[in-house]
Symmetry: D2
């Protein structure tokens, strides 16, 4: 398990964007994982709430890392959906993701994002998505250079 945690922590530190934001690994199990991110002013939008994009990023990343627990490290999130449930003003965001179903090439994962503050915890967002092995994506990249 320590090995699992070490690898996940290493992958997180290898993400410049996660370092920029300040994300940390809280937990890594055999098919579930938690990331956390302390709220600060730089992460907010114009109404004083944490930017939805920050919460999305954290959910997306937790989904990817959960998928990596069963598919190995060369994975990306292929698609996901998120519902924002409550605005966040302060505290620490915690994204807990787990693998719901896994094949050889992809895994379907869920993620709940909470905010922790003063011993309390509230659910603030709910996400569901597909994590895919990167070969699939590489394949997509080479195809159809101007599909847009």
């Amino acid at each position: 398990m320590t090995d699992l945690v070490d690898r996940a922590r290493g992958a997180l530190l290898a993400q410049p964007f996660s370092v920029l934001l300040g994300t940390e690994l809280m937990h890594a199990g055999t098919n579930e994982l938690a990331l956390c991110l302390p709220v600060r002013e730089e992460l907010k939008q114009q109404h004083g709430f944490v930017h939805g994009g920050v919460i999305s990023y954290l959910a997306d990343n937790a989904l990817t890392f959960a998928g990596a627990l069963v598919l190995g490290p060369r994975v990306v999130t292929g698609e996901y959906k998120i519902n924002y449930l409550r605005p966040v003003l302060s505290g620490t965001l915690v994204a807990r993701a787990n693998v719901i179903h896994a094949g050889r090439q992809q895994a379907t994962c869920q993620c709940s994002v909470y905010v922790m503050e003063g011993g309390d915890e509230w659910l603030v967002a709910l996400a569901q998505g597909t994590v895919v092995r990167m070969s699939d994506l590489d394949e997509q990249r080479s195809a159809a250079p101007r599909a847009g």
Copy 2:
């Protein structure tokens, strides 16, 4: 129209997270809008691609800003879904969002995210979501303090 652009630009500058990332307003019309964000190393993940969370953030923000064109400035994205189509290595991300359907309290919007580089442009992600007036969210906030 200048007024529309000025207000959108002002809102963007009032978002500390958008300033941290470097997002700029490209275009604001009566029901469509474009944001752009130059790629830099800080925005990447461990495989050298732009972090999906960055693309999600940009799509989410473009959806919110598009919704604001018809619902007014006090809106947030309530939920959305995104499909990532291609990894992004360099260039400038451009998120173009438009309002598909609007009621009084919410708007359904779509967003296509492209990467522009050297005169070319590729579609890299596709998103669809709901933008809601903030009163709805405030209402949610007061309810059920421990739904999670």
Copy 3:
């Protein structure tokens, strides 16, 4: 609780489409609910699997009925997302939905769809969506007659 079950069963019987398909109420609690639907040839697609649209219908309906447990009977599903995990050939579909978060006007719900056969049970789809009070929808209906 009997009253809750009676009302949910009554609502289901008042849905001509659910009667056409053969959906039945299995369980109704304070914030979770289960519907079931026996598989038959008429519900299949061209490869011999139950049509995805049948699974979507069941998930959508279970989401709506779960939302009604906290919002009252005049609700509809506003949006949802579904991931299909396994094809279904035979057995009985069971959709279990529960309320994750509820405000006054809308509820965010999750739904897992299983297939039961010979004492075994497999997860076949996963859904997440928003259930809204119908006044919201009526409002949408009156607005923008040609938004498309």
Copy 4:
């Protein structure tokens, strides 16, 4: 093109569920397709509206058929998201889907569902999803017999 239409029509007639509901092919092009379904009482829910599950089914099916235009006939919808925009009381549902991006194994498609009546047409739902080759799904089927 006639061949394309013939094959799509044949696939639709080979779906018992589509025959049960009464779906017809309206159009098939190189990367876009339209299905239609006349509204009747049997397709409704308890408030007199067409059941959301019917609209979801039609969108899901149009997404799959659009994906088949570029991936070949052995495909299924892997996941999708739908936003319902307006209730439907009468008329004919028309689902127009098109391929946004395609790789070798999967295609990302969009679908707009309209209701046509008396020469008018309204947008009633918007969907976005992933269509996958069936080998991917077969692979999923064999894996993890009790992931739920």
